[in-house]
């Protein structure tokens, strides 16, 4: 299990960490370059913080990019209210430990109209509680640049996205008309109201993320490691059964299994995998022989063909 390092230990010049291999070093350099460029060119940047492994890496890189200064922008967490309990605990601990500014936003429609992943279906729920909520939060903060941890290897429409992904004032992405992006020269010129989503991890793969977490000893939410946990099986997914709001349907039963998560999102929509991987080494070797992709456990990607592109056009990350 990862333990959380006191900050001083990470800064120790006598660190025993071996130097990064050239591949990870090149990825790290590229990400730091992007962070600095956005911070210098935009007036009000913000970093989307989803608490997952990619966000943990993103945050680590941001801290590196601006060291010895503070991270010069706030973190934004769009909280649907249905995240795993351990994610929220981890978020609050992280913010405290690294002296970060955190903005949390929940779409008020959720409470008013009682929108849940169970009652509204994953598509509508995601649309309101994630996409719409994100737009609300970005508008409220008048952010002109938002960092995200998306990777091109995640999904076919992501593979098409630029590192600076231009958005119209209503947050739309036009995949047919992206600005050319040559070399590492980024065009950050926008009009008032327009914005850019910036993706420092664009060229990272899932394995790169894990190998970097290992090499840099980056803390992550414990749900990524296998443990015996209560689950219920629904729609072919194993859902974590710890939240009292999860009501069992007729024929369903709670049971314990040794499981872990490959990605983290809203617990009712995120499937666990059977795994005995309790260490980073285990996770990496599991990945290197994995026969399915990481997004397979995500209900929201499966709703309809091209669903990710559709969500992205509408302002989803």
């Amino acid at each position: 299990m990862p333990h959380i390092h006191p900050e001083t230990e990470l800064h120790n010049p006598q660190s025993t960490k071996p130097p990064l291999d050239p591949h990870l070093k090149a990825l790290e350099n590229e990400a730091i370059h992007i962070f600095r460029e956005v911070a210098a060119e935009f007036e009000r940047p913000v970093m989307l913080y989803s608490i997952g492994k990619d966000s943990s890496v993103l945050l680590h890189l941001a801290r590196k990019a601006f060291y010895p200064g503070r991270v010069p922008f706030p973190l934004l967490h769009v909280d649907t209210g249905w995240k795993f309990r351990e994610m929220i605990a981890f978020r609050d601990e992280t913010v405290e430990k690294y002296d970060l500014d955190l903005v949390v936003h929940t779409n008020p429609r959720g409470a008013v109209e009682n929108i849940t992943p169970f009652t509204h279906g994953s598509a509508l729920y995601t649309d309101i509680m994630k996409t719409e909520a994100l737009r609300q939060a970005l508008d409220a903060g008048q952010y002109d640049a938002a960092f995200g941890g998306a990777r091109r290897d995640e999904e076919a429409s992501r593979a098409k996205e630029r590192i600076y992904s231009f958005r119209t004032p209503d947050h739309r992405w036009d995949p047919r008309n992206q600005r050319p992006e040559l070399w590492n020269i980024y065009n950050g010129m926008i009009r008032r109201g327009e914005s850019v989503r910036a993706f420092p991890l664009s060229n990272w793969t899932e394995v790169d993320i894990w190998r970097y977490i290992q090499a840099e000893e980056i803390p992550i939410v414990p749900l990524y490691f296998a443990e015996k946990r209560p689950i219920v099986e629904r729609d072919g997914m194993m859902i974590l059964a710890e939240d009292p709001r999860l009501e069992l349907l007729p024929g369903e039963a709670k049971r314990e299994e040794v499981i872990r998560f490959r990605t983290l999102g809203c617990f009712p929509l995120t499937g666990a995998i059977r795994s005995n991987a309790t260490t980073l080494d285990d996770i990496i070797s599991e990945l290197e022989t994995a026969t399915v992709s990481e997004r397979q456990g995500r209900a929201i990607d499966r709703d309809q063909a091209g669903s990710m592109e559709k969500k992205k056009r509408e302002g989803y990350f």
Binding site: E28, Y67, A159, K160
Partner: protein
């Protein structure tokens, strides 16, 4: 796909086998090779990369299942899945069966890892091909064996070369549709090698390929092409070299100044050439001030050296005026500074490049106003540079750049970072060109070498006032300006013995 279709289709059972259960372990001891596919519409670029991903087991079971599902009804005569769907991820691309924007994909063999950019062949989307080419080490140029070289093939080969790609693989694709015609393959290879030579590229490997059937991609095609005994595509890619770090001196384009407290001031940026260590003397451009490096700070430790590619924070030994857009460089081999440069560029948007219009130019972290005067345009058919007053979309041209303030460049030949730039249209904010510096324009010297000139050393405020006058603005190109401190000015003027 049904089982009988599979059986009929498979000349080579590898061709349609599901991805194996043991993907190769990933080589991590070197930087990945960056490559692009290019060539004309429908030559099979996306199919080739899809096949490459498939045969190197980069396609997972769930992705393979959706590929089979999505291929339904669009099957080719061979009953094979439409491998291009692994790349063409946008709805518009799937509907039209073409690639619109570049897709970046990652895969590896047990020898090395690769970043591949699959670029569109359609002329309308040349800008997206240029996007992919700008960072590539190698280009796989596809030609349809039935059709041969097209204007678009020449355009892509030319853009790739301009952008510094010196390794080409010519994939003569759809060779299955020519009955594996050896003479045809050899004729196209010959034609292409001539084109490559005229572009100054010597390193060309020609391979007869069937992207669809997977012949000479990862697995050899000996069964159908016994006459070909050269390497497969993957073999060539495994042996290709990554772009070498150019050897001009140390360059650090300053991205931002870090001042977390009174006691610390550091200059943050990514080393764009050469290397640096504490104790080195450096010059800050364009001001010309000189300082010594005291520390290289990174999050993990204080380092004793940094090399090209490293993202660092540099601390200097004295209070000097450094801001974003400045360049910190080695004193012995400085980049060129000046108000006039020559460049080659590719026009990327429908408006083209208009003469006399003032654009924004961004290079590294430096953004400044520039006036662009087209001089010539490349005629792709004849390979000749013809006179041009403006450059339409997709044109490759040579231009004069004129700046209001000092610009700082290396030639692209010497440094692919400090010699590259983009042009931004101030009306639309869109990126309208990608450019490569060829040199500083000799505004002085040449035929004017014998003319009389006067060197003045003025207080900076007086010089600024003079430079703001109209008479000065009218002849800016004729003037050489270097900002230095008073001590340096005395030294320079004393050194003139006349």
């Amino acid at each position: 796909m049904t089982a009988p279709a599979l059986a009929n289709a498979a000349l080579d059972e590898n061709a349609v086998a599901l991805p194996s259960q043991e993907p190769a372990r990933i080589a991590r001891d070197s930087r990945p090779l960056r490559l692009i596919t290019c060539g004309s519409v429908d030559d099979g670029k996306s199919t080739l990369i899809g096949r490459l991903l498939w045969d190197t087991k980069a396609v997972k079971e769930d992705q393979a299942a959706s590929l089979q599902r999505d291929s339904n009804g669009k099957q080719n005569d061979l009953g094979l899945p439409d491998f291009a769907l692994l790349l063409d991820g946008l709805q518009a691309e799937r509907e039209q069966g073409i690639t619109i924007d570049v897709a970046y994909r990652y895969f590896s063999t047990d020898k090395r890892s690769f970043i591949v950019a699959d670029t569109p062949g359609h002329e309308q989307y040349t800008r997206n091909m240029a996007t992919g080419a700008s960072t590539a080490d190698l280009a796989v140029l596809l030609v349809d064996a039935r059709i041969g070289l097209l204007e678009q093939t020449r355009r892509h080969a030319t853009i790739a070369t301009l952008m510094g790609i010196r390794q080409f693989v010519l994939a003569v694709n759809k060779i299955d549709l020519t009955n594996y015609d050896r003479a045809r393959f050899e004729q196209i290879s010959h034609e292409f090698k001539e084109l490559a030579l005229s572009l100054g590229v010597r390193q060309v490997t020609a391979i007869p390929v069937s992207a669809l059937k997977g012949e000479n991609v990862v697995y050899d095609g000996r069964a159908s092409m016994p006459w070909y005994d050269g390497p497969t595509l993957i073999e060539v890619l495994e042996l290709a070299t990554t772009r070498s770090a150019q050897t001009v001196g140390f360059r650090l384009p300053v991205q931002r100044v870090s001042r977390p407290g009174e006691s610390f001031r550091g200059y943050q940026g990514t080393v764009a050439g050469g290397s640096v260590k504490p104790g080195d003397s450096v010059v800050i451009l364009p001001s010309g001030m000189v300082a010594n490096v005291t520390k290289i700070v990174t999050f993990d430790l204080v380092r004793n050296a940094a090399v090209a590619g490293d993202a660092i924070t540099l601390v200097l030994d004295r209070q000097v005026d450094v801001s974003r857009g400045d360049m910190i460089a080695t004193i012995d081999s400085q980049p060129m500074t000046g108000l006039a440069f020559d460049a080659q560029l590719v026009a990327l948007q429908p408006e083209g490049i208009q003469p006399g219009k003032r654009y924004w130019l961004k290079s590294g972290s430096r953004r400044q106003r520039v006036q662009v005067q087209p001089v010539t345009q490349l005629d792709l058919k004849s390979g000749k540079w013809n006179h041009a007053d403006e450059l339409p979309m997709n044109a490759i041209g040579k231009v004069h750049l004129t700046f209001d303030e000092q610009a700082i460049f290396d030639s692209y030949e010497q440094n692919r970072t400090t010699g590259a730039f983009i042009l931004i249209d101030p009306d639309t904010n869109n990126t309208v060109a990608g450019g490569m510096i060829t040199g500083r324009r000799a505004t002085i010297g040449g035929i004017h070498a014998e003319e009389h000139r006067v060197i003045l050393s003025l207080p900076a405020d007086l010089a600024d006032q003079l430079m703001a006058t109209e008479i000065f603005a009218g002849r800016r190109e004729d003037v050489d300006i270097r900002r230095v401190n008073a001590a340096k000015a005395i030294e320079v003027i004393d050194a003139i013995d006349e």
